[in-house]
Each structure stands twice: as structure tokens, then as C-alpha cells.
Amino acid sequence: MSLPDTISMIEIRNIQKSFGDRTVIENVSAVMKPGQCNLIIGTSGSGKTVLMKCMVGLFHPDEGEVLYDGKDFTNMKSDEKTEVRKEIGMLFQGSALFDSLTVEQNVMFPLDMFTKQSYRKKLERVNEVLEKVNLSDTNKKFPAEISGGMKKRVGIARAIVLNPKYLFCDEPNSGLDPQTSMVIDKLIRDITKEYKITTVVNTHDMNSVMENGDYIIYMYDGRKEWEGNRKEIIFSKNERLNHFIFASEFLQDAKDMRMLEETGKIANERNMEELTDRSAPTLVPPPDEE
């Protein structure tokens, strides 16, 4: 399996999608950064999953275009769409593994469908990607026999087995503990860089935002409210975005400390004494005092 020669681009133009009377996506445009991690963030119900489903063709937008390498995917003929879809890998929120197939068969499935390789070659490739996601000894297990984090990793392995140009991940951290979430984030980041994939991730996990956010779109009520990267998001003055990102006291403190370090002042005029009185936010519990 060879890596894609060029890094591929995804562009969305004026996407609009309604269900009945309710407009879920309203005039959203964006250019995803090629070969990097692009994040769509927002509260539940803000339209990020619908936007992603419009991008991959599971929903047909009422208006607007989705372009892959400059080609209008939305209005393509079905056989042309199929060709583009072969270059797309997707990790679903619930992993969407086929229950009746083993881990090995799940990952081999796209190879069975789209290649004429020998079983030995396919198995080699399956083992290679399973090793990449640190699941070398689960080949014969069924999805029901593995944990949620492992399912996500199998989902990633299946998504990348055909060396796609584009990787879509719908809430890859949902239902996972913070440690496993970080493993999945790192895996997505590493795969994006190594395979030169243009990755689009739907998330509301702040760790993912800070770790993987090369380009971030913040969705609010079906509209693109803000765009930028993980550095810019810290200093954003967008009130809605700040409400979303720094919803917890812990993250607000972290932001203030960061701003204090970088600019010498705090943006939201909170009492500096109050902030400095509290110990710096940390995830590591303090060692026992003797």
C-alpha cells in the first residue's frame, strides 16, 4: 500500500441543511488544512455531526458544495462518488464495527471489497495497521469481546487500511476515560502526520482541541461562529466560544495562567489575587506531605 502522492484538500462552500422546518446547518464555508488535523467543535446539537455527514455524503446538503481536491463531491455521479469514497476513511462515534466479524475480518473488509490481493498480502496489511494502533494480539476477537477504546482503535485501523487521503472522526473520545482519550488523540495525530492524511475530527473534548487543533471551526446553532487554531483559541475574544471552551473553573484558571504568563494580564478582569491564591491547576495530585 503506497502513501498518497499529494496532500489532499477538502473545502466546503455555503453548506445549508434543514430537517423539516428546522435549519441545522446555515451557510457554513471552510477550507480544511491539507495534511493536518482539522477540528469541528461545538456543543451537542450545534450541527457538527450533520456537517460532517454532509461532507462525507451521508446527507445531501440542501445548498452548497463539498469539494475534494477541487472536485464538487455533492453533485458528482454515483460512480464518481464511489471513487472518492474509496479515498475516505471514517471513524464513527460508536466505532460501527461489524458485529458478526472478528477484528481481523473487520479490518480486512475494505481490502476484500476493493482489492484483488492474495489473502496473505491482505493479512500482512491488516497486521501492519493493527500494530500501528497497538492491537497486535486481538485478531480473532469479536467486537463484543473488546473494550470501547480498543473498538475505536480497530475503527481507526479499518479506516486507514486502504491508505485513505481523508480521515473523518466523529467524536473519537466519546465514552472513553481521559487516558484512553489521549491515546486516541495521539494516534489520530500520528496517523495524520505519518500517512499525510487530511483529517477532520468532530469533538467537544478540550484536550483534543489543545493537542490536535491545527485548524478549528467552532459551530454554534448551525453556524460557523469562529475559526482559528489551538493557539488562537486561547486568546479568542468570542464570548460564545469562551463560554464553550472555558466552561469549567479549572480551564478558566488554566487560560488565565497562560495569559498571565504570556501577556502579564488577565483578559476578563477576574481578581488576580483570587487566581494566584489558588494553587496552579494540575492533573497530578500533590505528593503526600511528610
Binding site: G57, L58, Q93, G94, D99, M113, F114
Partner: protein, 220 residues
């Protein structure tokens, strides 16, 4: 892969339903013989008539219709819940993302497998039903096996078998396509899968009975 899926479905529908088909068929034939004998009390009617009635009832109605109604429950609910679960857990979306025509990959093999296997099950049910009737007749001393065999050959119309197969093919299509529709388009969660499965079985049964009447009116 499509061929593999077709073979898998043939095995699932055929082998998976064989047990219940065998049990129902044997008892259906046995009960037919006993009840027909109970009603034919006149000494003017030869005992071989029991075999004729059992044969025609089994071929024309019991084997195709009764077995297919049972299969609508067994196979139909399985198809609807399998596809419903795949829809709800985004497995169908995953296939579509891969560029696979999910209707062709998931539904077509089921319909083709049903069209191949269900008529076979109906033929097996017909044979076993008649054998069950023969066995019950001799065990209950209602009719000897010789008389039963003689009756089976009297006035046999091969067209009845063609009619039974026509019914079997029609019902096979209904048993597979109706639940596939309900399962494929399910929306919601596990509760909706259950509802879709029930609706699929009820609708299939009603359509089978409706088609049964239409075919009888047209072909007999």
C-alpha cells in the same frame, strides 16, 4: 464478497429454519390425516380419499402458506432486526462511506437467498407433511400405508405442485423484502428495532395471506 454474503444468507435462512420446518411439517401432516379421517365417517367414501385430501391440502395450502407464515416470523424478524441494528449502530453508514452500495450488498443477497432456499423448504415441508400423515394414519390404525400410498397416486395433478411453487416464490419475496425494508429504514434506538421487527412480521403475514388469495383466485 457478494457471493460470500449470498451463501451465508442461504445457510442462515435454509439451515437456520430447517428444524422448525421439519417439526411443523410432520405434525401438520399427522393432524391433517387424523382430522380428515374424523370427518369422513361415511362407509361410502373409500379410505384412500383421506390420503388424497391430505396430499392436496398439504401441497396446495399447508406447506406453502403455513410454512411461509412461520418463516415470516423466524426469518423476517431476523432480517429486520439485523438490518435495524446495523442502521442504528452506523454499520450501514460505515459501508456507505467505503463506497459500497448497501442495498445491493445487504438486501439483495437476502432476497436472492430467500428465493432459492424458501421454495426448497416448502418442497421439504410438502414431503414431510405427507410422510407425517402416512405415519399418523398407520400408527393410529386409521388407514394402512398401502391404502395411503394408493390414495396418494389417485387423481394427482402435477399442476398443484407448480401452483405451490408459485406461491412459495411469491411468499419468499415478501418474507425477505418487507422485513428488509422495515429494518433498513429504521430510525432511533433498540426500541425502534423491536417495533420495526414486529411491524415487519405482521405486514409480511398479512401480505402473504392477501397474496395467497390473489394467487388462488388467479391460478386455480
Amino acid at each position: 464478497m457478494y457471493w460470500k454474503e449470498f451463501i451465508h444468507q442461504c445457510s442462515d435462512i435454509g439451515i437456520g429454519s430447517l428444524g422448525i420446518v421439519v417439526v411443523i411439517s410432520v405434525f401438520m401432516g399427522a393432524v391433517s390425516t387424523v382430522q380428515t379421517a374424523y370427518q369422513l365417517v361415511s362407509p361410502l367414501i373409500p379410505k384412500s380419499s383421506i390420503a388424497q385430501i391430505v396430499r392436496d391440502t398439504v401441497i396446495l395450502e399447508f406447506a406453502p402458506t403455513l410454512i411461509c407464515i412461520v418463516l415470516a416470523g423466524v426469518v423476517g424478524s431476523k432480517i429486520a432486526s439485523e438490518l435495524g441494528n446495523m442502521r442504528v449502530s452506523e454499520q450501514i453508514d460505515a459501508l456507505e462511506i467505503m463506497g459500497i452500495n448497501t442495498r445491493a450488498y445487504l438486501i439483495m443477497p437476502k432476497i436472492l437467498a430467500a428465493l432459492l432456499v424458501i421454495p426448497m423448504l416448502v418442497i421439504i415441508a410438502t414431503v414431510l407433511g405427507i410422510l407425517g400423515g402416512r405415519l399418523a394414519g398407520s400408527m393410529a390404525n386409521i388407514i394402512s400405508t398401502n391404502t395411503f400410498d394408493k390414495g396418494l397416486l389417485e387423481g394427482f395433478l402435477p399442476y398443484n405442485v407448480i401452483f405451490a411453487l408459485a406461491k412459495a416464490y411469491t411468499f419468499a419475496f415478501l418474507i425477505s423484502s418487507v422485513p428488509a425494508y422495515f429494518g433498513y429504514y429504521v430510525q432511533g434506538g433498540s426500541l425502534e428495532i423491536g417495533r420495526a421487527s414486529t411491524r415487519a412480521v405482521v405486514t409480511s403475514c398479512i401480505l402473504i395471506l392477501f397474496a395467497d388469495y390473489i394467487l388462488a383466485a388467479l391460478l386455480l
